[in-house]
C-alpha cells in the first residue's frame, strides 16, 4: 500500500519546488485546438465519461440545470486530468524516472489544500456533526420535494462538499494496491449491471419523464418513502452519511 496525503501543504518547500518544476516543464496549451485536445484526453477518464453520461440522461429527464452543472464539473475535471497527464508526460521526458517517480504516481498524488488529520475525527466533533446532520435533515426534510428551500439546502451542502473534495483529502489514508483482476471484475460487473438494470427500467417507461408501475426505476420505488416528511428525514440522513463516508476516503 502506498501512503498518500502526508503533511505536505501547498506552501511547503518540497511542494512548491515540485510545482515550479512541473509548471516549467509543461508548456501551457495555446489555441482552441490544443485546449480541446487537453480536454479530450481528460474525457477518457472513466469518472468523467460517467459524469457526462449522467448529465446527458439528466437533461433528457427534464432537468437541464442539473445537467449543465454536471457537465461543467465534468469539463473542469477533464481539463484537470488532461493537464495532469500533460505535465506528467513532460516531467517523465525531462527527469530520469528513477529520480522522479513514475508519471502515474505524479498523477495520483495531487497537491493537498488542507491540513491533513492523522487520526479519525474526535468524538466531540462527531457528536456535533451528527447533531448538525439531524437538524439539517429535519429542516430540509420538512419541505416538499422539488421546492426551492429543499433545492437550496441540497445544492448548498452538495456544492460545499465538492469544493472541499477538489482541495484533496482531509486525512492521511492508506491507498490500496491495484486490485486483482477478479476483484476489479467483480465490482465492475456489479456497478455496470446495476446501472444497466436502472437504465433498462428507465427506457421501458412510456417516456423518460413518466414513471411506470410495470418497469419501476429506483426513483419510482423510493417515491412512497420520500412523499412523507419522516421518509425525507431518513433519506437525507442517509445521503449525508454517504457524503461523510466518501469525504473520509
Amino acid at each position: 500500500m502506498a501512503r498518500l496525503g502526508s503533511d505536505r501543504r501547498p506552501g511547503s518547500t518540497s511542494a512548491s519546488h515540485q510545482a515550479q518544476a512541473t509548471t516549467a516543464l509543461a508548456p501551457a496549451p495555446h489555441g482552441l485546438a490544443e485546449r480541446v485536445v487537453v480536454i479530450a484526453s481528460g474525457v477518457r477518464q472513466p469518472i468523467v465519461a460517467i459524469l457526462i453520461l449522467i448529465s446527458f440522461f439528466t437533461v433528457l429527464s427534464g432537468k437541464p440545470l442539473d445537467g449543465l452543472l454536471l457537465v461543467t464539473v465534468a469539463m473542469a475535471l477533464a481539463w484537470d486530468a488532461g493537464m495532469n497527464s500533460r505535465q506528467a508526460a513532460a516531467k517523465a521526458l525531462a527527469v530520469p524516472a528513477a529520480q522522479s517517480g513514475s508519471p502515474a504516481e505524479a498523477h495520483a498524488a495531487p497537491p493537498v489544500a488542507w491540513r491533513l488529520r492523522s487520526r479519525p475525527p474526535r468524538l466531540r466533533l462527531v457528536a456535533v456533526g451528527s447533531a448538525a446532520a439531524v437538524v439539517y435533515a429535519l429542516t430540509f426534510g420538512s419541505f416538499t420535494r422539488y421546492s426551492w428551500p429543499a433545492t437550496a439546502g441540497v445544492v448548498g451542502l452538495g456544492a460545499s462538499v465538492v469544493v472541499v473534495g477538489w482541495g484533496g483529502p482531509t486525512r492521511q489514508r492508506q491507498i490500496p494496491a491495484k486490485f486483482t483482476r477478479i476483484g476489479a471484475l467483480t465490482w465492475g460487473t456489479l456497478f455496470v449491471g446495476a446501472s444497466l438494470w436502472e437504465l433498462t427500467a428507465l427506457l421501458m417507461q412510456p417516456n423518460i419523464e413518466t414513471s411506470s408501475y410495470a418497469h419501476p426505476t429506483i426513483s419510482t420505488l423510493t417515491d412512497p418513502l420520500l412523499a412523507s416528511a419522516p421518509g425525507r428525514f431518513i433519506a437525507l440522513l442517509g445521503w449525508i452519511a454517504l457524503g461523510a463516508y466518501l469525504a473520509e476516503r
Binding site: D66, R145, T151, G165, A235
Partner: protein, 66 residues
C-alpha cells in the same frame, strides 16, 4: 410474476450481490476488495475524488432539488 416483480427482483438480486461481495471481501473468503477499498482506490486522484463527490451530490439533486 409480472414485469414489475421482475424489475424489483432484479434490483434485490443486485443488492444481495453487492452485500455478498462486501461480506466475501471482509471475511477474506474471496480475493475481492471491500467497498471501502474500492472507494479509496477510486478517490486517490482528484478526478476520482471529485467525480465520486459530484455523483453523490447529484443523488441529492435528483431526489430533492428542482
Amino acid at each position: 410474476m409480472n414485469s414489475h416483480d421482475v424489475t424489483v427482483t432484479g434490483f434485490l438480486v443486485l443488492l444481495a450481490a453487492l452485500v455478498g461481495t462486501e461480506i466475501a471481501g471482509r471475511t477474506g473468503r474471496a480475493p475481492v476488495p471491500t467497498f471501502s477499498h474500492v472507494m479509496t482506490r477510486i478517490m486517490r486522484t482528484r478526478t476520482g475524488r471529485v467525480g465520486m463527490l459530484v455523483a453523490w451530490a447529484w443523488l441529492g439533486l435528483h431526489f430533492f432539488a428542482k
